[in-house]
Every structure is written in C-alpha cells, then in structure tokens.
C-alpha cells in the first residue's frame, strides 16, 4: 500500500490539489459573490503599495511625456490653436444665426397676426445725413412695393416707403421730422398726430382735458390713409400739463429700437 502511494505520489498529490481547488471553488460558488476574509486582507495590505506604485509610475510617465519626449507638443499646440480659432468663429456664427432666428421668429409671429399681405425686407443702409431719418431696404417695385406703403416690425410701426426703385426702397422712419402718423391713445381713444423728433415722437393735437398718463400705449388710428388701424407706435413718455390752450404737449417714446433695425415687413396692398 505504502509502496503504491510512494510510487504514485506525484499523481496523487496533483489530483489532491486539483480536487481541493475544485472543492474550494465549488464552496465559494455556493457562498455567492461576497468577499472572503482572505480577499479583504490582501486588498487592504496591497492597496497602499499599489497607490504608491501608481503615483510613481504616473510621475515618471508624466515627466517623460511632458518634459523629455516633446517632439509632438509644438505641432499639437499649433493644431489646437487653429482648431480653437475655427471653433470660436463657428460659435460666433451660431450665435449670430440664433439671434437672427429669434428676430425672424418674432417677425413671423407678427406676420401671422397681421391680416395683410406682408413682404419681408432687410435694411441695407441709413440716411446719408445726420438730420433726417430714413433707411434703405432691399425690396423694390419688382417685389410689389409702391410709394406710401407701411413698413413695420413686430414691436410696432417703422415708417413708410417714400422712394421706390426696382430692387430697393427708401423708408421714411416715423422719427423723421417730416413724418406724421394719425394715431390715438389706446386707453381712452384720444386722437392726435405723432410727429418725429429725431429720436422720439411728439403727440400733437391731444386735447388738454383728456386723461393722458405716462406709459399709455399709442397706436395708429387708421385714418391717415397709410397705416392700418391698431399698429403700435410707442408709449407716452412725458406729459406736460398746461393751464390754458386747446392741446397738451405729449412726448412719446417709440417701441421700435431704430438703432437696431435689421429685418422689416412691408405691408403690401396687393399681391406682388
């Protein structure tokens, strides 16, 4: 028997190890995935060493790649700078497109509200002098624009066309001194004429006894023959009460920001 064991000692030992491992494995499978004490202990002991080794290795690698092996750094830097410039430029373009989109969306909403045929146009230049308030738009008689047509934006009235060429038109802004718009105060229907004063407007012929307050909305009355009724002109900015006379002086601030006029709508009388 002992001779047999001695003779097959090696094979028996190997088989015993394999069987033990199998049993150990089988027993662990039954216990589920929980960590054994052995595992925890080993991990606990080896973790600081692993960390230290990792720091050292990373430090060495970092030193090598950032301070010693710099053959590609210059090219990489140039490439990233160029990429940064391109991305910055694209970002600016996207911002501009977003702003244009917002403006056009407002204009489209307004177009849906207005029960008239409208023609979108771009403002391409302004008046040559400092004294008058006109702008040039990129739509003309070829697009159906005629002289005297109202021009508006979502915020309110812009002006009316005074000169029309084939592809361009000049628009007299309501803030020009020669502009006059038949208007009324929305709250109490007080009538008047809004005249341009360069930056602001003045409401002429507003009766002295009418109740007009700062902030009142001024809209077109529709009686002037140019602008349809109900378009926003501005808000009352200042009222100067007077003791005598027929009318009271009223200053009006236009709702349209004329210094930032880019896209406008021409209200056509008939289809182009």
């Amino acid at each position: 028997m002992f001779d047999l064991l001695r003779r097959y000692r090696r094979q028996i030992l190997i088989s015993g190890f394999i069987l033990a491992a199998l049993l150990f494995y089988s027993a662990n499978l039954r216990r589920g995935g929980a960590s054994t004490l052995f595992e925890r202990a080993v991990l606990q002991v080896t973790a600081p060493m692993q960390s230290a080794l990792d720091v050292v290795w990373k430090g060495a690698a970092d030193t090598w790649t950032h301070y010693l092996w710099l053959i590609d750094a210059g090219y990489e830097n140039d490439r990233l700078l160029a990429e940064n410039r391109v991305l910055t430029s694209e970002l600016m373009q996207v911002r501009e497109v977003r702003l244009a989109n917002e403006r056009l969306r407002k204009l489209l909403d307004f177009k849906a509200e207005v029960d008239l045929i409208t023609l979108p146009a771009q403002v391409i230049s302004e008046d040559a002098s400092s004294w008058f308030r006109t702008v040039v738009i990129d739509k003309g008689s070829d697009d159906g624009v005629l002289e005297g047509m109202p021009v508006v934006v979502a915020e309110g009235v812009v002006g009316r066309t005074i000169r029309v060429a084939a592809d361009q038109s000049r628009v007299l802004l309501i803030t020009d001194a020669s502009s006059a718009v038949a208007s009324l105060i929305q709250k109490n229907r007080t009538r008047g004429i809004c005249r341009g004063l360069g930056a602001n407007l003045t409401l002429d012929f507003a009766l002295r006894l009418e109740d007009i307050a700062v902030g009142d909305l001024i809209v077109t009355s529709g009686t002037g023959g140019v602008f349809p009724k109900g378009l926003t002109i501005g808000h009352v900015d200042e009222v100067s009460p007077v003791e005598y006379g027929l009318f009271q002086p009223v200053s009006v601030k236009p709702t349209v920001d004329f210094s930032r006029l880019e896209e406008v709508l021409v209200l056509l009388r008939e289809s182009p």
Binding site: S125, S129, W131, V136, I162, A177, G196, L197, G198
Partner: protein, 175 residues
C-alpha cells in the same frame, strides 16, 4: 481727371456715410464728407464748373438723404457760392483755412436746412438740427482735419503722385 476724382470721392463718401458710418458713430451723428468736398470745391474751383458740380453732388446726396429731392442740391450750391464769394477775404497760407471754412459751411448748411425745411413741411427739423449741431460741428471739423492730413501726407510721401484738384489750392489767385 480732376472732375472724375471729385465724383469718385463724392460717390465713395456717400456710400461710406450710408453704409459704414451708421455702424460706427452713435446717436445718428456722422461726418458730412460731401459738405467737406463742397467746401474744398469752393476754395479751389471756378464758379461755373464748381457750381454745376456742387449742384450735381447735392442731387446725388438727395437720393440718399431726406425726403425732399432737390433740397441738398440747393443747399450745396449755396454753400459753394458762399465759400467762393468769401474766400478772397481769407489768408490762403493759413493751414486752418479749410477747417475754418468747413465749420462755417456746417453752420451755413444747418441754417439753410431749417429755412428750406419749412417749405418741405419738415416739421420740427429745427429742433433736431439745433440738438445735433455741436456734435456735427465736431465731427465735420475732425473729419476735415484728418482728410487734410492724409492728403498732404500722400503728396509729400509720394511726391510724384498729385492728388487731383489739391494742388489748385495755391493756384486760385492765377484766375
């Protein structure tokens, strides 16, 4: 060639005034390059061709400014003749002559605008003119000075280059 250069300067000046200056200068104020050209014409050109050219430039300006066609034609013609009739009283050697005349021309133009504006139902144009006049004087004065510096520098730097019309400043007494 001289007339062509004047016309080119006028056209380019108008395009700059309508398309470039509004993006640069705030509060609707912008230098009046055409007025500076008209004053220069008054200093250097004879009555006949100068007057005709000033009127033409005024009409061109009317296409881009205001709502009453012909107003600037009239104004620029009067400014030209105003400069032409007073130029012999001034010292032609003074380098500030053109600057002074541009300032006087700006004041004269403003007065004419208010006067002629009453015929064109221009409303409260006088209020706008009065409000912007100091700024306009400053703008025109600085612009005239800058243009003169550039023109004289070009003539000195490129001595073979003759800016058409500019050399006539000293020849007007030959008439």
């Amino acid at each position: 060639m001289r007339i062509f250069c004047y016309a080119l300067f006028g056209l380019v000046g108008l395009l700059i005034q309508t398309a470039v200056f509004p993006r640069i200068f705030p509060f609707y104020l912008k230098p009046d390059l055409i007025l500076i050209l008209i004053v220069y014409l008054g200093v250097s050109e004879k009555c006949g061709p100068g007057g005709l050219f000033s009127f033409g430039l005024g009409l061109l300006n009317d296409v881009f400014a205001g709502s009453a066609f012909g107003m600037y034609g009239m104004i620029f013609l009067l400014v030209f003749f105003g400069v032409r009739s007073t130029i012999s009283y001034f010292n032609a050697e003074n380098p500030f002559l053109l600057l002074f005349l541009v300032l006087c021309g700006t004041l004269f133009q403003s007065g004419l605008l208010v006067l002629l504006g009453t015929f064109a139902e221009a409303g409260a144009l006088w209020q706008i003119v009065l409000h912007h006049l100091p700024g306009q004087l400053l703008m025109n004065g600085v612009s005239a000075a800058v243009l003169m510096i550039i023109a004289t520098y070009l003539q000195k730097r490129f001595f073979r280059l003759v800016v058409p019309g500019l050399q006539r400043l000293d020849e007007r007494y030959d008439d």
